[in-house]
């Protein structure tokens, strides 16, 4: 780990201003992913701005009837919030399916969105990785790719996004609120927040330099049956092979987002409209153009079968 200076920020604007002033500065909140990567020198900030004192740890109702989740709300608290449990159960379930109790106590809403991939070649600094060292190549292509993306990948990168929470948020049409160093704020729809790898897999989100996530807002509840189904080899404390976040209404309509299949939470609104026709019809659209490897081709049928089971469960 490279040496770094450390400061505690007191308000978002100050934090954003400071990050611009210092070369190679980074925000740190829960730290559960950033420190992990700093130890391996995959992340090498020269300055850390501790944002834990920014009072962004509240969950409040919005004027539109939704919820505004502070960037610093811990995963445990978000999952346990009675409003989230009641009205956004898919989010609560997604959070509880992720990581461990210890990690959820520390990990924050914003940090979870910004998690970096768990591709083992990204994690091993001896290996080429376009995400870690742009232009060096992708060792996962032609290598061990069982966990990797089956859709939306590129010649440069087939990594997946590891978050469960983000998949739940994608199904809920969440919006990411930010503040920029100049004090300007903006709201980024979650669909646009995470990028596909393309030729620039190191550019993972829509955030500009120094931009700080302040909150995630959820629109007003849409009702329906909320299910988050995470499929993995180990029964707990493991990343998804495939996960399905679904909100299904009584008439069979609804929404579906997938985790574990792409560089971002994977949802195509037009595939949602296939829901009344069943899992096969949804997947035909949702996973059209999929380019799996030999090792992860099973994810296509796994995703369809898992959605099938979810739809059966939703019918009760």
């Amino acid at each position: 780990m490279k040496s770094f200076t450390y400061e505690r920020a007191r308000n978002p604007a100050e934090a954003a201003a400071s990050v611009l002033r210092k070369p190679d500065a980074k925000f740190i909140a829960g730290g559960t992913n950033l420190l992990d990567l700093m130890k391996l020198e995959i992340e090498t900030p020269a300055h850390l701005i501790d944002v834990n004192g920014l009072a962004l740890d509240k969950i409040e109702p919005t004027a539109e009837g939704g919820l505004r989740i502070g960037a610093l709300v811990r995963n445990t608290d978000l999952a346990a919030d009675s409003r989230v449990r009641r009205d956004y159960a898919v989010l609560s379930r997604a959070l509880l399916a992720g990581a461990s109790g210890q990690l959820r106590n520390k990990a924050t809403t914003a940090g979870n969105l910004l998690q970096r991939t768990r591709c083992p070649y990204f994690y091993d600094t001896n290996q080429p990785c376009n995400k870690r060292r742009p232009g060096s190549g992708c060792a996962a292509i032609g290598g061990f790719s069982r966990q990797h993306a089956v859709v939306g990948g590129s010649e440069a990168c087939i990594a997946t996004h590891p978050s469960d929470m983000a998949v739940g948020m994608r199904a809920l049409d969440a919006t990411v609120e930010t503040v920029r160093p100049d004090g300007a704020t903006r709201a980024i729809p979650i669909a646009e927040f995470h990028h596909l790898p393309g030729s620039t897999p190191h550019v993972e989100t829509a955030l500009s330099p120094g931009e700080l996530i302040t909150a995630v807002t959820l629109p007003k509840p849409v009702g329906g049956t909320h299910i988050y189904r995470k499929v993995r080899d180990r029964a707990s404390y493991a990343f998804a092979l495939v996960s399905v976040a679904a909100i299904v209404q009584r008439d069979g309509t609804g929404r579906v987002a997938l985790g574990g299949v792409a560089h971002k939470p994977w949802r195509i609104e037009s595939a949602d409209s296939q829901l009344p026709r069943g899992a096969k019809a949804v997947m035909a659209e949702l996973l059209s153009g999929a380019r799996p490897t030999r090792e992860n081709a099973f994810k296509l049928s796994l995703a369809e079968r898992t959605l099938g089971a979810v739809l059966t469960e939703a019918k009760g």
Binding site: P120, F144, A235, S236, L302
Partner: protein, 734 residues
């Protein structure tokens, strides 16, 4: 004491303390975090500096140049040791690859440097500044492609090839035949405590506070590697945070701490960082196995053959996957063959029940498959082919063999009779449910073991032996043995382990530690009893040691009185005659597993587990049970998730941390049942005990595999059994 004839009645048979389920005497230390492990010993030597290990970025080739400039200039750096400046180093007898590589590189993450600095943070940062220019060479990394080139290689249990009768002809003539191939992947020990050592030099004497299973082996090894006299090396490992075979031999932490300390002229501590461990240390090698069984229509095995292929670095060893097939089932015509391919992957070596663990994974699926071909219940098929003698040498009986009783008892307790022999027929909601069984088998190994026992004037008995407790319960069973022998309560016994200054024990490995080390303590206690009797004027043959007293006839004297004018001490070792040659000594068990397989996703979850074991006298049922259920847990990992994935292009284990190499977590393991059959084995030692710590892993993965088959009708012969291998044959969803 030489153990040459079957044990007769001795003080252990009182079973006042031995054989009782006492809680571990080191429990209060372990549960309060006060048991000291190697890296934590701030108290043993002042001024400790920190070492951080750099691993090779290539699997095979040479270091062309290594630039230490930036690292040397980094804050706090005290020394950097590489092969260039380490001085002459020998290779250990027990290691296949060198612990410090360069310029030649033998495997990925082979250590090539240690950076010593004032703090851990500084050592780690400086290590990351070392720049290495490699000349990589193409290596051999794919076992499956090398089967034709593999060569015969002996295994621990005997020669590469064995043959009895005419296997080929009788297999060909058998009316019912199975010929199947199985594979097991490379597996990691993944013990929770990383390999760690604090090294300090005092003149030409070296002390290593380390984490090691086999103290005497490693004292000799370190001396050989460093070109020292063995008496100048001291090892101390009072607590070992798991080993499973991964800490049998010296590893890079010990050597690099010693070299770092010499270079920095200060004590140095080194722990292998977790992401380095998987490629830097040893692992259980992958196997490809072919099993052929021929039987009569009524299920009698007439021919049984087992071949196994594994790979290792040049000079390495084959996995002994065929070992149990020489002994487990009857059959007049038999063969085994072991082939070793040269691979440039990290060093393959012992991991919990080396040989039997992988062999039983394959054999016990094959037996299940054969029973199905015969239309027989798989347990009845096993019982029908039980043997009470070594099938290769029928003049050698087993000392004890209760395999059939294990199956009968287990079947009763588990509800085997409710098993539907038709696979894929039992459903519980979203789950397809199946049950499976497998035999457990592991040999009992005898090896000499010494101890020293002291009595002080407070009546305290202190046992000293270089035996280790790697979680096995050695502290407790040794204390129980000494308490029983000397007639004192457990609280009056102190046990000191793991110091090479103590008498040389069997050490911890091959499930030989429990029986042999307590037999050594028994021998020392017999000597101490004689010294006590003599001191107090008793006839040692008649003296009874009980309740803190020595008694004979009407005379009773407090034991402590024997040490009133100074302590009494006795040292002895147990050594063995040829009983093990005349009698085959093995341990047996039966595993039962119920799994649920999600009908949609094919996720496999274990619902129930039972093991019934017969393994000689159980010295402490509480700790012995823990050994077995722990091994069952590791077996579930082997069955369902554990696999070091080889990148066959560049030759390394890709999933080299505890997130990517999955081992079972709490949620994977249901309540486990475990039952020991009554057994004493007078052929094994005066303790009449045998090993038990590895028996529990042998066969359990196959029981899981057989349960998955029973649940789904899908037979998977390549471990681990992951959902992607089932998915295509699962029922339609919806």
């Amino acid at each position: 004491m030489k153990f040459e004839s079957p044990a007769t009645t001795n003080p252990i048979d009182q079973l006042k303390i031995v054989g009782q389920s006492v809680s571990r005497i080191d429990g209060p230390l372990k549960t309060t975090g006060t048991a000291p492990y190697a890296y934590e010993r701030h108290d043993v030597v002042a001024n400790q500096a920190y070492g951080y290990v750099v691993g090779s970025a290539i699997a095979k080739g040479r270091i062309k140049s290594i630039d230490l400039g930036a690292a040397k200039a980094a804050p706090g750096v005290l020394a950097i040791v590489t092969a260039d400046n380490a001085g002459k180093l020998d290779k250990g007898r027990l290691n296949t690859a060198k612990l410090l590589g360069g310029p030649e590189i033998q495997h990925y993450h082979q250590a090539i440097a240690v950076v010593v600095a004032e703090t851990f943070e500084q050592a780690r940062a400086a290590a990351q500044l070392i720049r290495v220019d490699y000349a990589a060479e193409q290596g051999a990394f794919d076992l499956a492609s090398l089967l034709d080139k593999a060569k015969p290689n002996p295994i621990t249990a005997g020669p590469a090839d064995t043959a009895v009768g005419d296997f080929a002809a009788n297999f060909a003539a058998a009316p019912v035949r199975l010929d199947a191939r199985y594979s097991t992947p490379d597996e990691a020990h993944a013990m929770m405590e990383p390999h760690a050592t604090i090294a300090a030099w005092e003149g030409d004497k070296l002390t290593l506070w380390t984490s090691n299973q086999m103290i005497a082996w490693n004292k000799a090894e370190m001396a050989k590697i460093l070109g020292m006299r063995a008496e100048n090396v001291r090892l101390d490992s009072p607590f070992v945070g798991g080993g499973f075979g991964g800490k049998l031999f010296p590893r890079a932490d010990a050597l690099l701490a010693a070299l770092g300390a010499r270079a920095a002229k200060r004590p140095v501590k080194v722990a292998l960082q977790r992401p380095l461990m998987f490629n830097n240390t040893t692992h259980r090698p992958a196997t490809i196995q072919r099993i052929r069984i021929g039987a009569t229509r009524d299920g009698k095995i007439t021919a049984i053959g087992h071949e196994s292929w594994s790979g290792d670095l040049p000079g390495g060893k084959a996995d002994g996957a065929v070992a149990q097939t020489r002994l487990l089932y009857a059959g007049a015509h038999r063969m085994t063959a072991t082939r070793l391919a040269t691979l440039d992957l990290p060093e393959g070596n012992a991991m919990r029940a080396p040989g039997e663990a992988t062999g039983m994974m394959a054999l016990e699926i094959a037996v299940d498959e054969m029973a199905e071909k015969l239309g027989m219940d798989p347990i009845e098929f096993r019982i029908l082919n039980d043997t009470q003698v070594d099938p290769e040498k029928p003049e050698r009986p087993f000392s004890q063999r209760q395999l059939t009783e294990c199956f009968r008892t287990g079947a009763e307790r588990f509800g085997w009779s409710k098993r539907n022999p038709q696979p894929g027929r039992v459903r519980d909601g979203r789950w397809l449910v199946g049950i499976g069984a497998a035999a457990a088998f592991r040999n009992n190994l005898l090896t000499k073991s010494a101890a020293r026992v002291r009595l002080d004037n407070g009546g305290i008995v202190t046992v000293e032996t270089d035996m280790t407790d790697i979680g096995t319960g050695s502290y407790t069973i040794i204390a129980q043995t000494a308490a029983e022998m000397m007639g004192v309560p457990l609280e009056k016994v102190k046990v000191r382990l793991g110091d090479s200054a103590f008498p040389v024990s069997a050490g911890s490995g091959g499930q030989w530690g429990g029986n042999n080390s307590t037999a050594g303590v028994y021998a020392a206690c017999v000597k101490l009893r004689e010294a006590v009797a003599q001191k107090l004027g008793f006839n040692s043959a008649e003296a009874e040691f009980a309740d803190g007293e020595v008694r004979s006839g009407n005379r009773r004297v407090p034991l402590a009185q024997a040490a009133a004018d100074g302590g009494l001490s006795a040292e002895d070792e147990i050594e063995y005659g040829d009983l093990a040659k005349k009698y085959q000594q093995s341990t047996f068990g039966a595993h039962f597993v119920e799994v649920g397989v999600d009908a949609a996703t094919a996720e496999i979850r274990v619902r129930r587990m039972l093991a019934v074991c017969a393994a000689g006298r159980i010295l402490n049922p509480k700790t012995a049970r823990s050994q077995v259920i722990g091994a069952m847990t590791m077996g579930v990992g082997a069955a369902l998730m554990e696999e070091l994935v080889v990148d066959k292009r560049t030759g390394f284990f890709v999933n080299h941390d505890l997130a990517a190499y999955e081992v079972p977590v709490h949620a994977d393991i249901p309540h486990q049942e475990m039952f020991f059959l009554d057994e004493t084995d007078p052929m094994s030692s005066p303790m009449k005990a045998k090993g038990v710590a590895e028996l529990g892993i042998c066969g359990v993965a196959a029981a899981v595999a057989n349960a998955v088959y029973n649940a789904t009708g899908v037979r998977v012969r390549d471990y681990p059994i992951t959902l992607d291998k089932l998915l295509e044959q699962m029922p339609d969803v919806g």
